[in-house]
């Protein structure tokens, strides 16, 4: 007649192993089970383990698209089946607690990484937000005042186990240098870091992949501009690669970067009235763009408004979705 064994007497790392397999709601409820579990679940190291488990579990639908809007809307594109039942596809999200509710904000989603999202309100206030756990906090404002256009990106630095918000400031005066500032979410301090070589203008917000943030940019060569992609390593805090986009993408075409699986992809409307998608295979290898599709723009429903939000996160296994 043995004593009843208690699972909570298992070694710490095994309990971590078990709990990291649970979905977020169950985990948050488990905070109430007992104090040791609560301290385990709220440990930042645990969050990282849980992320790794989630990524291994192919049953979980990781992909929700957040639309930069006020009120905030989340879209489960896997649930989209031709526009018949929108209620399952779009859901309005509650404002993160760190946002003051009575203001009419201009909400911009400036970065997203590992389920952590960064919002920019009225071009001034930054908020970091985890839509799954609903935790949020206001981030410090940057003190520099620049006459520039700004591009942002949120990424993870594995070397310091830290999330960093990067702000690229492209000066209005083209002969000035492009400045880069970084906010470390751990230290909560903004600091200036490297520059971009002159003649490169970064657009839009960055996509985080393989330790680096990637932005679409334009490079001035003689009298013309070509479209390139720049990558910024978060661990080293400097710009590394510059990759050329497919040749026929011209600098006045509207283009958007995205991720499919482990690869960068690029979507744009080219001059012949076609909308194309391209995938960059074998990360790090030059000239390895593969065209995914090329469709005439006209029949695409809702194209003009929705393209920049939906397209970057599309699931390419089903090619007939828009």
């Amino acid at each position: 007649m043995g004593k009843r064994k208690i699972i909570s007497q298992l070694p710490h790392e095994i309990i971590v192993n078990i709990l990291s397999r649970l979905p977020v709601k169950t985990l948050l409820r488990s905070n109430c089970v007992c104090k040791p579990w609560r301290s385990l679940i709220s440990d930042p190291h645990f969050a990282r383990l849980q992320l790794i488990q989630l990524q291994k579990n192919s049953n979980v639908n990781l992909h929700q698209v957040l639309l930069s809007s006020n009120p905030l809307v989340s879209m489960d594109y896997e649930a989209y089946n031709g526009g018949e039942d929108e209620s399952k596809v779009m859901s309005e999200l509650e404002y993160p607690a760190a946002m003051k509710k009575d203001s009419d904000y201009d909400v911009d989603l400036v970065g997203s990484c590992d389920g952590l999202v960064c919002l920019l309100l009225d071009d001034e206030e930054f908020i970091s937000w985890n839509p799954s756990t609903r935790e949020s906090r206001a981030l410090p404002e940057t003190t520099s005042v620049l006459d520039a256009t700004f591009s942002y990106g949120l990424g993870y630095d594995f070397s310091t186990d830290d999330y960093k918000l990067v702000r690229v400031c492209c000066p209005i005066n083209v002969s000035d240098q492009t400045k880069v500032e970084i906010l470390s979410l751990k230290t909560n301090i903004w600091r200036a870091t490297s520059h971009l070589p002159t003649g490169i203008e970064v657009n839009g917000n960055g996509i985080f992949l393989n330790g680096s943030l990637h932005w679409l940019a334009k490079k001035v060569i003689s009298q013309t501009k070509i479209v390139i992609i720049v990558s910024f390593s978060l661990a080293e805090e400097k710009f590394q690669e510059v990759v050329a986009a497919p040749d026929h993408l011209e600098e006045n075409n509207v283009a958007v970067l995205g991720i499919s699986g482990d690869c960068l992809c690029l979507f744009f409307e080219c001059n012949e009235g076609l909308y194309e998608g391209w995938l960059r295979k074998e990360y790090g290898v030059k000239s390895s763009w593969t065209r995914l599709f090329s469709n005439p723009v006209d029949p695409l429903p809702g194209y003009k408004i929705l393209a920049e939000c939906i397209v970057p996160h599309k699931n390419w296994e089903s090619s007939d979705r828009t």
Binding site: R29, V33, K35
Partner: protein
């Protein structure tokens, strides 16, 4: 002439002897490392595992080694193995805990994953009180503390 597969001799904490084919024993990283350190005739003592549990663990290892070999000849499917695994863990909680400890000590990753996942499945979807009852966990919160933690995580209860 094909040589007979090498046999490894293991001894449980309660002194029972188990003889297994090397491939099966090597599913355990711990045993694998020990084999490299001792001569082939020595008995490997496993003082942290009882005979009852070691028998089950070895049954698991043998099944997985056989399945891997059959897979090379495309004789079994993953579904069959998964179904077998699901049955394997249909045991009482005490045995489950023992299996987890053994898989951890013997460093058999797939068995550890399987058993931990089984426990996770037992937790999923339950309320905190149900979780405590299932696993006999003492509630060390005062009513006020518990109320506060609940409020912090309110939306998870909706």
């Amino acid at each position: 002439m094909k040589s007979t597969p090498k046999k490894i001799i293991l001894r449980s904490s309660d002194k029972e002897i188990f003889e297994v084919v090397e491939a099966v024993a090597m599913e355990s990283q711990t045993i694998k490392n020990l084999i490299e350190d001792v001569s082939s005739d020595d008995v490997i003592p496993l003082d942290n595992v009882t005979a009852r549990i070691l028998a089950k663990v070895l049954e698991y290892c043998k099944k997985h080694v056989d399945a891997a070999a059959a897979n090379e000849n495309k004789n079994t499917t993953d579904d069959e193995l998964n179904a077998w695994d699901a049955d394997f863990v249909k045991v009482d909680q005490n045995t489950l805990v023992d299996l987890i400890m053994a898989a951890n000590f013997l460093n058999i990753k797939s068995l550890l994953d399987l058993t931990c996942k089984t426990v996770a499945d037992m937790i999923r979807g339950k309320t905190p009180e149900e979780i405590r009852q299932t696993f006999n966990i003492k509630n060390d919160y005062t009513p006020e503390e518990e109320e506060e933690v609940r409020r912090e995580n309110q939306w998870a209860f909706e």
